[in-house]
Symmetry: C2
Subunit: 372 residues, 2 copies
């Protein structure tokens, strides 16, 4: 990552006076602390050693079964626990998918704005990024059709059809990242693209957004032809995902169905999104955005080009942080000043205060940019 | 990994009637379940969200401080929490070190027999493995001087000097894997080589052998010049090590000094090693081994060449498992039939019964090999 941006982000995180509209962090008030503590106590009391001993690279069978059942309920007919690999978060699932699918020099199709962690993986692998409907044939595509990051939008029928066409016509593997799928404000997600192209899609999911990121438990569901290679990549990377979190999660999920918790989380984040969007319309009328349909954030585009890192520096000086647009843009060069602003972490009054500070920082930044 | 061997290993693990002398797993009876449960309860009760929220790639500051203090107490003067990166187990620490140090085609020096996980990482990176005192200049060396795996031996002064000479004269980076350092039967380990060559050594450690593997918490201490690159590699791989295990460990260590637990573990494993070695001398007199000075296992060399996977198959049919020698040999081709036999997991009576079964399997295998 850009060291100047990282150092600003670290300053934001370390100083509670700075209102954090960056990072895409879930709200700690939703962390199920008591239920996790009860699950941990049960897991550690049990005679079974699985949570603490070495395990196989694919992860715990019950947790894999839970994930497979969730996908079957969403219309993926041909999936079982055997098809799921538990990973150290969604980040590792994407990293393994990219390692197995692409060699350096290969091409990857991405959305014009995308999750920075995935872009970093692809770049580190030496893959050439392409975007747009007329991009040349690529070895793999990375997309978030269920809910995109940073835009927070659900892919429509034509965008989904285009992804499937690309996968079938060009024999492109699609890495379908569902990190935010359970947090669409309208309700539970429909069928993933995996249901339509079982042999072309590698589906990525995680408990980080709906439960806690600190557990670092994600998953990868891939075509069977790739399973051996994926398990080998997982084994070489870190042997297995951490057992304690896997077994705590499995116990937690057995005792508490997630559905009600997810319904509450959707309402909770939708309310914060509404507060942020109102404040943005009021305070930053020159900045354009589509209201999010779920997830944690809004993608903002400013009225002119500019240095988003310098704007972040001005914002931090005014006591507010955000994620600069360049981190999300596939070629690292946004056409206009842009940013991701997250409503997930901070309560309503801090969101409003944060946007006011951002608006002040923007006016100062704009004056000095024009003077320069 | 060889699929035939893996399938045999999975059969051993799934069937409790099979006595497991393979795997190098710690004894579950030493897992500090109650103390971990108490730590988990405290961590999850605390108002602080660090254990459950996203964190920075280097990991928790207190745990890093604990590891740095341990190294300073062992004579590494120039090390602080800032120099430690918490990894998802020692396996990931080695993987990151190799990724940062070597590009495909580079050369890596290894001991003639070594930890399979490290050999697999190096091979996957496209690195050429060399061994022996006259090996050509290499970009990096991987060794376990504190206690080797599979041999369970402490490197003597001349072997340590040779590693340092190689590092300085050839400008070779040394990956010093200390996974078993705290389990030398003679007592706490002395200074690591890191103390003598701060800018040439990347030290790897883990809580997996002395506490529980399922926590997946290890560490990497590297020269400062490499820190940025290492953090970036960690971030791209999985963002951060799991927070729950990090904070549980940190709390556990703050409440219970490890020293007494380690002293007990050393006596415990030394007693099991003695039982195994006695049984081996009695039942397999044609097989040579050096008694281990610590760790979990013994390296056995048979009287003639042969197919160690076929011997494993015969052994499993007799109700005992081990790790075939080819997994540990740098070129994958042991000069003689060999195996790693672990005494760490099974209690004394099962160790003795396991060696009896192994001896019977060996006699059957030898007869049929000679008849063929």
């Amino acid at each position: 990552m850009d060291r100047r941006i990282e150092s600003l982000q670290r300053r934001c995180a370390a100083d509670h006076r700075v209102i954090s509209l960056g990072g895409g962090l879930p709200a700690p008030v939703l962390f199920p602390r008591r239920a996790l503590a009860a699950a941990a106590a049960r897991v550690l009391r049990r005679a079974d050693d699985a949570a603490l001993q070495y395990g196989w690279p694919e992860g715990g069978a019950e947790l894999r079964g839970y994930i497979a059942a969730g996908l079957r309920a969403r219309g993926v007919s041909d999936v079982s626990a055997e098809d799921v690999v538990i990973t150290s978060g969604a980040q590792q699932a994407v990293a393994i998918a990219v390692e197995v699918l692409a060699t350096p020099g290969a091409r990857a199709w991405v959305e014009p704005e995308s999750y920075p962690g995935a872009l970093d993986i692809l770049r580190a692998r030496g893959v050439a990024l392409v975007a747009g409907p007329d991009a040349p044939r690529a070895r793999l595509a990375y997309a978030m059709p269920a809910l995109s990051n940073p835009r927070g939008r659900v892919a429509g029928a034509s965008a989904r059809a285009a992804l499937l066409t690309r996968a079938r016509r060009d024999e492109t593997y699609l890495v379908e990242d569902e990190a935010y799928a359970d947090l669409c404000f309208a309700g539970p997600p429909g069928a993933p693209l995996l249901a339509c192209a079982r042999e072309r899609v590698l589906l990525v999911g995680t408990f980080s957004k709906v439960l806690c990121p600190g557990l670092r438990v994600g998953w990868l569901v891939a075509p069977r032809a790739l399973r051996e290679e994926i398990l080998e990549a997982k084994r070489i990377r870190d042997l297995q995902a951490n057992g304690l979190a896997q077994w705590v999660l499995q116990d937690f999920l057995a005792h508490r169905p997630l559905a009600r918790r997810l319904a509450h989380a959707r309402r909770f984040y939708a309310a914060r999104a509404a507060v942020l969007c109102d404040a943005l319309r009021r305070e930053l009328p020159e900045w354009r955005f589509d209201p999010p349909e779920g997830g944690f954030s809004v993608w903002l585009e400013g009225p002119e080009p500019g240095d988003d890192a310098a704007l972040l520096e001005a914002a931090v000086a005014h006591g507010v942080g955000f994620d600069p647009g360049r981190l999300f843009v596939f070629d690292g060069a946004p056409r206009t000043l842009s940013m991701r602003v997250s409503y997930s972490l901070e309560p309503a009054e801090r969101l409003e205060a944060g946007v006011s500070r951002l608006a002040r920082a923007w006016r100062v930044f704009r004056r000095s940019a024009r003077a320069a």
